[in-house]
Amino acid sequence: MTAQPAAPVLAGGGPAGAWRNRLRRLAQAVRRSPLGRCALVVWHNRWVRFALRRAGRLVVSLWVVVTAAFSMIHLIPGDPVRASMGITASPAAVEARREALGLNRPIWDQYTGFIKGLFTGELGDSIYLRTTVWDTLTARAPATMSLAGAAFVVALLIAVPVGLTMAVITRRGRAPKAELGFVGITVVLGAIPDFIYCSVFAAVLGARLGWLPVANTGNSASYVIPVLALAMPPAAVLTRIIRVEVLGVMNTDYIRTARAKRLPAWRVYLLHALPNAVTATLTLGGMLLAGLMIGTVLVENVYNWPGLGQTLVTAITGNDYSLAQGIILFFGVGVLVINTVVDVALALLDPRSTVSEG
């Protein structure tokens, strides 16, 4: 064996080989050109890769949610139009409604129309509200989102200080009785559903004590009861998680380093321990925020809050399919947006998470 024929074999091999060589040369040229070099630098930047990967996942999930929302009407057993109008409606009226909903068109046509409608804001009409679904969404979403957002902030404001304090008090097995009591209380508080909280608060703070309105009156005092009710279960769960996370972090070597630096205790706990405990907290916090948003459905019904939750229940009981579809879609997309925001926040807080996972 001599080394002589190596180069010709590579270059030769008929037209396929020639093409391969030409492609390779092209790739090299691209790689050397300023634009190509830029592209390579950008591609090797972990933030760019992270953004692309995360955006890709978001798009796929969005497609799943949109398709699920679309197929909802078609999954309804029997004839949804007939069911929604009752047995007494005339066949002509049923046909007219079917046409208005677009259910007589071929299914592929309906699907593309539905997706097109998402971009133009045409999601159909609500039968009972006599408005378009889009108008209802834009009019009522702010009430729901302000409720969920405020509840999330309140949950964090309760959970972070209480969880951190409990971690400091119970670190390394100190105060075992306080720990037992704390775990018991948070388990029970976290298991009570928000609509029960809302009813209890309305009964005690509203009806019995008269401090707050028993149902929504439109002023800012009306926020207190539903926000507290929504915030209670996630606050209890988060408090427990934060305590466990901070306890874990406080046993690490880098906290020992921080203590060896003789930093004041508050600096060790707040600046060194807490940021490292945030990762798990935030992951869970995202799920809790999504749960909060859906939890508004119940609380709005208890407290007569003019948001999407109340509207959704009326839509379902009244067989107002387009409206129910629109609101479910809104909540689904909301969950995806929250998950994405949490992932990005995680990446910014802990740069390691951009590199991990394939």
């Binding site: 057993p77 100190r174 009570i192 029960i196 060896a260 749960g291 379902i316 067989n319 689904g332």
Partner: protein
Amino acid sequence: MATKTANQARPSAQLRRAFATPMGLVALICLALVLFLAAFGPFIWGEASQTRDLTNLSGGPSAEHWAGTDAGGRDMLARVLVASRLSIMMALESTAISLVVGLILGSAPIILGRRVGRVVNWFIGIAVAFPGLLLALFFAVVFGSGAHQAAVAIGLAGGPSFARLCQTLIAGVLGRDYVAAAKVGGVGRFRLFGRHVLPNIGEPLVVNATIGAGNALLAFASLSFLGLGVQMPQFDWGRLLKECLEQQFRFHPLASLTPGYFVVVAGLAFSLTGESIARAMSFTSLGDLGLRGKARRRAAQLAAVADAARAPDTASATVPDAVLTVRDLTVTFPAGPGEVRPVRGVSFDIGPGEAVGLVGESGSGKSLTALAVAGLIESPGRVAATELGFLGEDLSRDGAGAHRRLLGTSLAMVFQDPMSSLNPTQKVGHQLAELAHEHGDLSWRQAQARAVDRLAAVRLPEAKRRAKQYPHEYSGGMRQRAMIGLGVMLTPKLIIADEPTTALDVTVQEQVLDLLQAIRREDGVALLFISHDVSVVGDICDRVMVMYAGRIVETLPVTRLHGGAAHPYTRALVAAVPTMATDLDQPLPTIPGRPVEPAEVPPGCAFAARCPLADARCREQEPALEPWLDGQVACWRPVGADTPATAATLGGPRLGAVPTARRAVKETVETTRVAARGAVDQAKAAARDAAGQVRDALRSAADQTRRAVLGEEEGPTEPGHEEAQP
């Protein structure tokens, strides 16, 4: 696996333990009550719930009607009690549906093959991201309102999370040997699932179904409350709560919440019973509690005996200008009813600029000594000393806060594992600057500049750029440099380095050791260097202290380390290190026996059981640390006092300065490097190969030694978990 076998052995004992906690017991009692109501409620209170008291419509709580009456004058409490059956039946129906859906989806990968399984997994992954209530509402739109429709909706909504659970459980089962064997043996997919997988995931699945039933109960109450579940004239708790809030709330707000109280109690009863069982099952491998208690009591007794026998070290007079003065230092941890004392009266001094090594096997208390000196032992550990002087201040007096500034500026610590000793969420430069900002009164900007300067001083390339990076962007050696850089941010008088090179590569070890030496020489910093590796200590230190079972057994100048040591333990440690002269065909010399556990220190000399020279006195009386030549030794039969024959019994310590393996390899690598520098590429590569071979040989030899010295249970890197042991 241990858990599993224990499970099968005594399930009744397990369950008993689950309900031994107050929470578990309360949950179980509540669950029994709830199930009793579901079974007999309609028979007992059925009639009462139908009787209308027309004189008392929407009445408040009274002796006759504890929870008041509804708008039709019917007794509220009776109605709530009757409603338990429907509420619980519906919850169980939903749970059963969730369980079936979860099992089907979760087992798809084994039954339908990998490709279909992948699609199913992907789908589950997306579905579990959505809150259960949203999925339930989605299905409620599809199926419409009604009791069974709502049950199906909740059941389907709970499917994805049960599928996740099944996947996890199945993956655990498939990893077991007998399942792998069945697979190799050609057992069909369905048979594999039915005979091997299902029976093994059954128990945890049932326990989790109990938790799931609690959640389903709450979810079903929610849907009924919204009017999407149970419809008139039937009623469950959710439906009743809705009616009460509409009719009774404005007259008797608290009584109108009665159905809500039942929902909460029943939901918690299911969930907490499940949680208690699950927790008890996973804790089984910890072993029988009674036995553990006995072991602890025995340990405490032994510790007390050892304590009584403890003779304080005879300390030389306090060195006037010493950087660190330690007298009779003890570290104690509570262990069950008693306590253990891993450090039992240690006394030493370190002079200015002096480098002192502290060697011993793992568990000898050397790391704890260092942490105690630095005031870093946390409660429940306790540190006591008759004197703990650092730069003229007595650290054993006043609180830790009183000496914060002195310790912050003058005492630097370098820890064993550089990978975990830096905060992963802060930039390295910031972590250094923080120290100067806190104790050096520098502004943040000045502190940052100082950090870059110090990083450059520890020979970190491109210090300015590196300062802005996070620890995970550093290699292990770079992180340890950064830790040393942290140590020299201010003006340290003493650096305590706790196994600073153990976690590093042999070549990187050399660089880090050189760096420590350089800092010591330039700034006149004293060094307390802790290591289990005698040869490293011999390279870098002036004086060596040898620790065994929580006490110093010998101190000696490093020149006497090879061949001149008096304590049999020191000689054994030195003999266990292979040198270039070691015959590799012979087994490496080891120290027979195991190190002493802090909980079971024997009455006499702690080393007696492993010492070839030990006699009756050694086993009965503990020797004190007495002056010996130019050092100290705590031994009844120090080598050199006896006949020279003792040297032979101790595994042939080589007299005279035999170069250690490390030093020899260092020289080899150095000469190779010099030779290669001017040579052609080929020669360079060959030299690199040679160096690599030498390094590999050394590494394996070092590992072997370490394992031999540390006893079998220790891995190649010595974990610094002594602190956590008690």
